[in-house]
Amino acid sequence: MSKSIVVEHASKRFTMQYTRTIKQMSIAALRGQRLTDTFLAVNDVSFTVEQGESIGLMGLNGSGKSTLLSLISGVMRPDEGSVLTRGRIAGLIAAGAGFHPQLTGRDNLYLNAAILGMSEAETNRKLDQIVDFADIGRFLDVPVGHYSSGMSARLGFAVAAFAESDIFLADEVLAVGDRPFKRKCMARMEEIKKEGRTLFYVSHAPGSVRQMCDRALVLVEGRLGFDGPVDEGIRFLKYDDGPQDDVMNQEDEDLGADI
């Protein structure tokens, strides 16, 4: 067994600034109002993930899921505590983030792949797979600005999904894209899981978490409220009401709320 993600007492504090200009600041100061305020988006969270585990991260809006994911991806650093990871990280927090509307799909694909740490040769080797998966056909050489939102999301997912990685972070996977594409994404994530990569999946959809993950983490107002089996996690979050005959249906209903 090899530890893949080790989070120890990690906290991330955000500063909210109520005023921006000198004028606003002086007025607020005269009235005796506070200029800034801080809050803990992630509050003293600790857990360890073994290589090959698949984790479902759940929680209500504003509970700190995105911040925690940013800490694990390395975009943000914790103010206190530590976050350590082993190996390369790819993920869908990146899906299409680096896309420049003026560049063609192909150029964006290479750029995004490079940001995820892929070399030119590696990208060339995987180009067909990526293009095939994204299913954008002849739009590959059209500027991304002309893409539909679904198309650019598909391309973003495809790049991340085929990047070489040891840890795969997934969020907003199912928030975009139509049903056939969602199915395809889930299938690809299943493959990623089988390859023995660590999967870190953020979702509001209990159905897909149940299908994909073997452990659930639930964040409550920045704190780790629950760490354990998926079913219990879903019950903890009281997400288990209603019939769950059709997993996909359940997902679709839950997808309205983005993280």
């Binding site: 067994m1 090899s2 530890k3 080790v6 955000f14 500063t15 073994e50 290589q51 090959g52 585990e53 698949s54 940013s70 800490l71 694990i72 991806s73 390395g74 975009v75 943000m76 650093r77 530590s82 976050v83 350590l84 990871t85 082993r86 190996g87 390369r88 990280i89 927090i93 990146a94 983030a97 680096g98 420049h100 509307p101 003026q102 560049l103 150029d107 290479y110 750029l111 490079a114 940001i115 995820l116 070399s119 030119e120 040891d166 899981k193 089988k194 390859e195 023995g196 990569r197 073997d214």
Partner: protein, 298 residues
């Protein structure tokens, strides 16, 4: 649990480390492939929706050059005491333009790329450095024009002149990146900084011996501390060194208006380059310090 089916080759050999890139300029140059793609992206971004594209990067300097040339040359009659004033002016303009472009595009680079920065871990220094490289790319055609010009009138630079030119370019590049690092980070916190930069760049044109010869400074302030302060400006040194390469060799030894250059130009240049290098180190430290809060402040 899937960990039981874990294939041994799936266990990465990498150590447990803090995720994300640790930043630092040395990491920027290790990621040359990514840098190349980012420069390409910057170029595409700068000319988005423009039919003439790269051509625009000639129009501005060309118009400026023509304006200065006629106003300074014909109206103020600077032609008379400077042989080949056009090269004197143009060599200076290439450097000033290079610097102001690096500085202003570099300052905006972090804010402009916030979507990438908020989502993906990569050395953020890449963006100011890419801005500097894009600007350097833009100087190439200007240099070519300058080269054609000096070759027509006869140009035979010595090894000294060539090294002066390279030194001048290096000074402006280093100084530009150092300032771009500082200001791009500060700009994340207060967008006022991009306006400060715009104000500052107006000043640059007048603080270097480009539209007036160094001769004037020497006559007015020669031997005083003002001259020393003037020459401490890295852009002034960059301009003088570039003129040493392109303008000085075109002025014949029998010219009635001999070239006036500061003493110890090369030594001065090397010292300024070292100073800019030290400044770059501090700029990097400053950048790293502010970088931690980029994501939430963008």
């Amino acid at each position: 649990m899937s960990s039981q089916t874990l294939q041994p080759d799936r266990v990465p050999e990498a150590p447990l480390v803090a995720p994300g890139d640790q930043g630092g300029l040395h990491n920027v140059f290790r990621q040359r492939y990514l840098l190349k793609l980012l420069v390409g992206k910057e170029l595409a971004a700068r000319y988005q929706g423009s039919v003439l594209g790269l051509f625009w990067s000639y129009v501005q300097p060309a118009v400026k050059f023509t304006a200065y040339y006629f106003v300074m040359g014909y109206i103020f009659q600077l032609h008379r005491d400077i042989e080949h004033f056009e090269f004197h002016l143009f060599a200076g303009m290439v450097m000033v333009h290079y610097f102001t472009e690096t500085f202003s595009a570099g300052t905006r680079s972090i804010v402009r790329n916030k979507r990438i920065i908020q989502k993906l871990p990569l050395p953020r220094e890449l963006f100011p450095v890419a801005s500097m490289l894009v600007s350097a790319y833009h100087t190439v055609p200007q240099m070519v024009l300058l080269l054609i010009g000096v070759l027509v009138v006869g140009w035979d630079p010595s090894l000294y002149d060539l090294s002066a030119g390279i030194l001048g370019f290096a000074i402006v590049a280093t100084y530009g990146v150092a300032l771009a690092l500082i200001f791009s980070a500060a700009n994340v916190y207060f967008r006022d900084f991009q306006n400060i930069v715009a104000t500052f760049t107006i000043f640059v044109t007048w603080s270097v011996p480009m539209i007036y010869p160094y001769d004037r400074i020497e006559k007015l302030f020669g031997g005083t501390w003002i001259e020393q302060v003037y020459l401490m400006n890295p852009i002034a040194d960059g301009v003088l060194l570039m003129q040493q390469l392109f303008w000085v060799p075109t002025v014949g030894p029998e010219s009635p208006y001999p070239v006036v250059m500061p003493d110890y130009l090369m030594t001065r240049g090397v010292i300024v380059l070292v100073a800019c290098g030290i400044m770059l180190v501090f700029a990097q430290k400053f950048f790293t310090r502010l970088e931690g809060k980029f994501v939430e402040r963008l």
